[in-house]
Symmetry: C2
């Protein structure tokens, strides 16, 4: 099997891009990545995106990239897997180079969500639930789902809203130093506690925002710089009512198990992590499912600062989805952008000496998870 | 590289399914295919779909299949490439088995289009054009695009509407014998000529319908029955105004060239073809681009009956998109269903002794094309 390395990175700022189109954001990130890779012959394009059809009446993003960047008559694919669309697209590209089918693949993610009315966006996001479930039609939303999870977690473990705050404020603090982050205004515990409630117990700071943005990566056959050590993907239930245990995200655990196994590594080897903090509660569950802390103890870890610099493992040094922003299709690639930057030693909130990094991307109510492990080799 | 064979086929009838949901159609076809394959351990799922998000507020089709058919926590992906979504999904599955990443992959396609108002469907289909093009906003539609192509073809070659009729009536005749076809009422040249005009010179019989339907295939590592000889995919322009020549579909030609080259075969080796007759005009261009007839002579070939049984190569023995129906995401897989059935000797409109078959799937205004070549080996 071929080794696969990251030869180029591109990203836009996350937030509101009033003067830009979905396409201009996408092409901007793609061009940056291709330029950084020094214009290799790109053999294929994979684009991760969730809602450009329903929100923007724009599909064929793969062909648009190939055409508008004059990449030639190459194969292109758009990939959808809810909020994990970017991670899944990355996995396809990685596997195709590993197998020898392609040598250089451009993988990109994009979303343009700002500007649409809230109910339109909420409706579009709910396409990540199963239409045949009564819970969707009864009014369940994603904040509703993770709010329910948080209440149950509090009940089972003794955690409280203060522990969610530790996650949200940590990620905001990291975002202050990330030039592409959506939220760069400092926030205090008082700001957090007095913020508007979204879904009990989740307040405004516990929920990732709607965002515009794009990220892109060129993957190449090779073993320089930062290499992809492994890829794991797993599925989980598509309905809340099917979850055997509200305090677990089995797809996260299983995708991590596969990625660890293929890399021959474990949680103890990971120096820096980006994980899918769509809600503050999700970060606490995910640090447990990824094996960094025992089940039901993540809240204590965040209280002790173990997910910051100098702790067990720094998590979401980009600011995470909560404060960097969450342009859905771009998120999985933006996480990888941050991990690769960390392993190159060029990141915001640099973790000194970071050699192995992990990126985890979630979709739906735990319906999809991807985990990718990276190593800096020079 | 591993050999890849087709171990299971599933399909629903095409047309109007009032009592069914997108999901029930998809699961029906998937279950048939898995059952025919005798319930192998499925390693991954790829689903081709174009508009379930915008028309039906339903994404995460990959996870739904894995979850509802109890396939386990396997990786799943939804693939979009406009009307070529099915062919592109099939290609991913094929490459993943060929490389050894997976042994059995379920690939499916689905669309539910009936019931929505015409303007809603037309708008959703137009997501396959580039939003940044003035032609889309000036009112170009897909019938408008292929109508323009037909007028130019008539002007350049001397062909006339009668030649389009030969395609449409041939495909209707084939559909009469296909139990899953949407249109099974016989049609005469008089019916054709008196039909309602859609976009000059294309009348009702020249345009594929909106349809509900699903198709599914299990691909496995192996060399029994019908094997996949090769896969070719190419991109083309995403705007009509960028086409260097309105009488060509370069992505069709290039995807065929790649598939022929990888298979070590040429057009002369092909015994039976399914190609993307979204409009009658598209079939005439495509028999030229696939190399069966010289450029600018397809109209003479259809007049002489050379694309029927006993001619050069029978084309669209399923009835094609025009008469079998065109549930967009399912189309690429339904074409392959027909070719595999032909090579198994179990098809409607059976081509006696057919050993090598070709399926070609188009997306957008020529933005995507896939070509797959199959061989019956037992």
């Amino acid at each position: 099997m071929n080794k696969v390395n990251v030869s180029g990175l591109g990203i836009t700022t996350f937030g509101t891009h009033e003067g830009e189109t979905l396409k201009s954001l996408l092409l901007d990130a793609c061009f940056q990545a291709i330029k950084e890779a020094d214009f290799p012959k790109i053999d294929a394009v994979y684009v991760g995106n969730f809602m450009s059809g329903s929100l923007g009446n724009q599909e064929i993003l793969g062909a648009i990239v190939a055409n508008d960047l004059s990449l030639g008559a190459i194969p292109t694919v758009k990939v959808e897997g809810a909020c994990a669309s970017g991670g899944i697209a990355f996995r396809q590209a990685f596997l195709m180079i590993q197998s020898g089918e392609y040598e250089n693949v451009l993988v990109a993610g994009v979303e343009k969500m700002k500007g649409a009315p809230t109910e339109v966006i909420t409706n579009a996001i709910n396409a990540a639930m199963d239409n045949d479930s009564n819970e969707k039609h009864a009014g369940l939303t994603f904040p509703g789902f993770f709010g329910t999870v948080a209440n149950r977690y509090f009940y089972e473990t003794g955690a409280s809203k203060k522990h969610l705050a530790h996650v949200a404020l940590k990620n905001r603090e990291y975002a202050l130093h990330n030039p592409i982050a959506q939220f760069t205004k400092p926030a205090t515990m008082e700001d957090y506690m007095s913020a508007r409630m979204i879904t009990e117990p989740l307040g405004l700071f516990d929920c990732s925002p709607t965002s515009d943005g794009a990220a892109a990566i060129v993957l190449s056959k090779g073993e320089n710089g930062v290499i992809v050590r492994s890829s794991g993907q797993a599925s989980g239930t598509t309905q809340m009512q099917e979850a055997a245990d509200l305090l677990s995200l089995p797809a996260v655990k299983e995708s991590a198990r596969r990625a660890y196994e293929k890399a021959g590594l474990g949680p103890e080897d990971i120096d820096v992590v980006e994980l899918h903090d769509c809600f503050s509660m999700t970060e606490i569950l995910s640090i447990e499912e990824l094996g960094f802390f025992a089940k039901g103890t993540g809240w204590e870890a965040v209280e002790k600062g173990l997910t910051k610099h100098g702790g067990v493992v720094p998590v979401n040094t980009s600011g995470g989805l909560l404060s960097k922003g969450h342009p859905i299709g771009a998120t999985g690639l933006a996480q990888i952008y941050q991990i690769v930057s960390q392993l190159r030693g060029t990141s915001c909130n640099q973790v000194e000496g970071a050699r192995i990094g992990l990126a985890q991307n979630l979709g739906g109510t735990g319906a999809y998870s991807t985990v990718h492990i990276f190593e800096g080799v020079k």
